[in-house]
Symmetry: C2
Subunit: 332 residues, 2 copies
């Protein structure tokens, strides 16, 4: 197995990306191709011990940033690490691609260079959504803001296969984000989507209200990309806001500081339970080859985890299974 | 001023509703009409001291519950406390109406019995959204799941007037819930809405990402009812989930219990900072007379606060100001 890595992408690339890659090579035994400025990558690699035959460098002189317009950037910056990496994936030089760079540009590269799976209308950004006692997979998390019911059905299907194969969850439960749990609730999109998913072979649990999402009541959370993005960002925002309130209250005076000191391991543990890094990156489901988006602020640890996730994504033949299930007649 | 109150609605009606009403009569000097079963209301009222001339009873033999279909219920249960109360409001027996009963039925009663403001396309449920250091007004919180840009513009206008007049915030800032802050981001609805609000006289701060909502960066949060409802419920869900995690971690052993004991006043304070009750009820903006929805689980304190809010809603002539602003040419 060979994994192609955008060495330059993300807030902490190339230093942390390369460190995480080397850690993954050493820990998981994967072969990698690091794409980016050859001198920078070469110099960074000198810092580490690793099996030399497992790491290649593929030169790319340019970088796509978050300030670039995705659609324009992938046409104009043809020698960027992201475009070169995606082209290498499309050409079969590796089995999967990972980048911590611009989400929009990675999606555009995936769609236009690697292409979508036959029969899939839209590719979805699928993120691991931390819940009280585990995680769900949320898709679409922002790739498609205006959706049709069929797209959402395909998201449900792809999410189900991914959770089962990569995350090891047997017959994953599917929930449709809605403003009421009864069938017939919600907007036109959610009503029509309900009808389609209900008729499929998926383990559909029906509508799910946003209030229940943090408790983790379903394995796969399905919504359009607008609502999914709102859910994801509000969850982050609430966690940040509540921790900031805790900090304010717990540092008020000597008594509170003493209390907080006694609770230090638990406070750390709570932060850990709500950490986004542990579970790795976000798969772009619907693209014909495995691509994972690592969080923009990924450190080496997060990169290593994302590579491990991509490794399973490749090993478990997720895309082939999605393709096969596309042709299943969706009648119970 | 005379306020009409659905004595039977809500999880804690009639007992807590009547207690809260009496408290409001005593504290704010308002006149009230309690609508519902006369014998029950009469018996409850015997418990309290209050100026007898300020409290009337209006008989209604039936109750609309949350299990009733709103549209059907308001036609079939013509002698329900909600329908009778709304009709009394429409007939000019009082200046405003409050209910802790079914949100859907109250909206339907407002729209079909009291009628919308001339020129307003849709009535919005507007809720006080608690933020880190205060609150915003969020609308629509769930009344309209499929929206047009003009509706959202009207929500912005109505929310702005309400925040200025009732909540006393000078030139309230308006934010449009979106998945990116730049103009041109989002779905078709948000792009078109942006253009309309931008051209208006409102204090428009542009798009706002869901991550920022809990920090309280704008006074009025505008979205369609589907997204607004997701925002509201997810906020509640995250608060519940995080408190449940805190409780779990803080009751682990003697050390953590001691720490939590030292922090007890602060933990209570944190809960208070995120409490939904304090700010009262949710105004139905867009209806031609003042109606406030009190939270279904309201206790007497919440009812009293909601009555106080309705009192300001009436005193400040919010509806007249909305009507006047409807005819302002929305060009800077």
């Amino acid at each position: 197995m060979k994994i192609i890595i955008d060495a330059m992408g993300g807030d902490n690339g190339p230093i942390e990306v390369i460190k995480g890659t080397v850690d993954a090579v050493n820990e998981y035994g994967v072969n990698v191709i690091l794409v980016g400025k050859e001198d920078i990558i070469g110099n960074e690699l000198k810092k580490y011990d690793y099996p030399k035959d497992k790491v290649e460098i593929l030169g790319a002189s340019d970088i796509i940033t978050n300030d670039d317009d995705p659609a324009i950037a992938i046409r104009r910056k043809k020698d960027s690490s992201m475009v070169v990496g995606c082209r290498a994936l499309a050409d079969g030089m590796g089995d999967g691609f990972i980048s911590a760079g611009s989400t929009g540009a990675l999606l555009a590269s995936g769609i236009f260079i690697v292409k979508r799976i036959d029969g899939i209308d839209r590719a979805a950004l699928s993120v691991v959504y931390p819940t009280k006692n585990g995680f769900s997979l949320l898709l679409d998390a922002g790739a498609n803001v205006d959706c049709k019911p069929e797209y959402l059905y395909q998201f449900a299907l792809m999410g189900s296969v991914y959770m089962e194969k990569v995350m090891g969850i047997k017959s994953p439960t599917i929930g449709l984000v809605n403003i009421g749990i009864e069938k017939g609730k919600g907007n036109t999109l959610s009503k029509e989507t309900y009808d389609i998913i209900e008729r499929s072979h998926l383990n559909f649990k029906g509508n799910i209200e946003a209030r229940e999402l943090p408790s983790g009541v379903v394995d796969v959370i399905v919504s359009d990309g607008f609502v999914g993005n709102v859910v994801l960002k509000l969850t982050e925002g609430m966690a940040i806001s509540i921790f900031s309130i805790l900090k304010e209250e717990f540092t008020k005076n000597f008594r509170t500081k003493l209390g907080a000191m006694l609770l230090r391991p638990e406070l750390k543990n709570i932060k850990g339970r709500m950490d986004y890094r542990e579970q790795g990156g976000a798969p772009l489901l619907g693209i014909s080859k495995p691509i994972v988006k690592a969080h923009g602020s990924s450190d080496a640890f997060a990169i290593k985890n994302a590579i491990n996730q991509l490794k399973k994504f490749i090993e478990k033949d997720v895309i082939k299974i999605i393709e096969e299930n596309m042709h299943v007649l969706d009648n119970k």
